[in-house]
């Protein structure tokens, strides 16, 4: 049988596509569960960074609710809710979105804050990252309720938190975002923990 050349070419493209897409599909299936497990572990790992282990005995990564723009992970100990971790994103940084994990215990204290993703200027704004500096630890144990609204600001704005030399916008964005999340937590505590 002699097919015209374009048919042979089309047939070859089809055959190659089938084989390559097939191998991608097989790889996808072989790795799917492992990848999901890795992601789960990685999520747990980052959640543990903002909430110490004595706060919970449940699987943090699975007790999760969505409230407005926040994804909220709830920590439970001996059947009672003890704290929540809010994921939050602010666009008020210097360059693009900054996403945060903010842990707040039921008595309104910040248990920890971590920056998950950012594109801030290397060497200036990137000190918000725990890998670069300890700045973000300044939030630990700060109370949403006891601190006045004025204190929740960078020093340049009259508040308690350091800014960086040459970069005020980035820390300001984070401080304001943590404050916002804290207020949200305070106002919606009933709904979050019901």
């Amino acid at each position: 049988m002699n097919l015209p050349a374009p048919f042979i070419a089309a047939f070859r493209v089809g055959l190659f596509s089938f084989i390559i897409v097939g191998s991608v599909f097989l790889t996808f299936h072989a790795t799917k569960d492992k990848i999901a497990d890795n992601k789960h572990q990685a999520l747990l790992h980052s959640l543990q960074a903002v909430l110490s282990q004595d706060h919970y005995d449940n699987d943090l990564a699975t007790d999760v609710i969505q409230l407005q723009t926040y994804t909220i992970y709830r920590a439970k100990k001996a059947g009672r809710y003890t704290a929540a971790i809010l994921t939050s994103t602010t666009a008020r940084g210097y360059n693009g979105d900054i996403s945060l994990l903010i842990g707040i215990s039921i008595d309104g204290k910040i248990t920890g804050v971590r920056v998950l993703n950012h594109n801030e200027t290397p060497g200036l704004g990137d000190k918000i990252d725990i890998k670069k500096s300890n700045w973000v630890l300044a939030f630990n144990q700060k109370s949403i309720r006891d601190m006045s609204s004025v204190q929740w600001a960078v020093k340049r704005d009259g508040g308690l938190f350091d800014q960086f030399t040459g970069a005020t916008i980035t820390p300001r964005a984070i401080v304001n975002e943590v404050k916002k999340a804290g207020l949200f937590f305070q106002q919606n505590q009933q709904i979050i923990f019901q």
Partner: protein
Amino acid sequence: MATNANTIIRNGLWKNNQALVALLGLCPLLAVSNTVINSLGLGIATTLTLVLSNGLVSSLRSYILPEIRLPLFVLMIAGIVTIIELTMSAWFYQLYLTLGIFIPLIVTNCAIIGRAEVFASKNRILPSLLDGLAMGLGFSFALLLLGAFRELLGAGTLFSQADLLFGESAKNWQINIFDDYSGILLALLPPGAFIALGLLIALKNAFATQ
């Protein structure tokens, strides 16, 4: 046809260096070369992709009709990169978290389709694998030089964040060249990448003409 092993290696590492002579793959090259460790990561991933794609193209070259070769190359390279990405995220998750963002960038590296077209589709499998390796190493070499230059000028360090690639034990590999160095920010930003690459090419040409 240059299938002699010596020629292949010399072409890949120096004479036809994909980054410094052919100027291919500049998108990942400039985007990721801000630290030595990032450069090394992208270098490894690119080299692996080049070797695999050259090997695959070469072993299938008699089935690849000339008029459909480009779509098939693209298909094969995209397939290989996706499989590498999935495999890494399953079994080398920590490494994937660092390199993950670079892996899709490899698809944009025209050096890979370039080698498939120029070399692998016309040569036997062993020379093709060697060509992929040599070209990959040459590309990594340029990446590492760029990364070292930019990290040194931009942050005054070398090998910072080595733990991302080599695990926890590598945390203290960081070398601080200057104490209390404020850094030339330009070197870390995209314009710095272009300037550094320009200097590197000039340097290479100066060596080559001697």
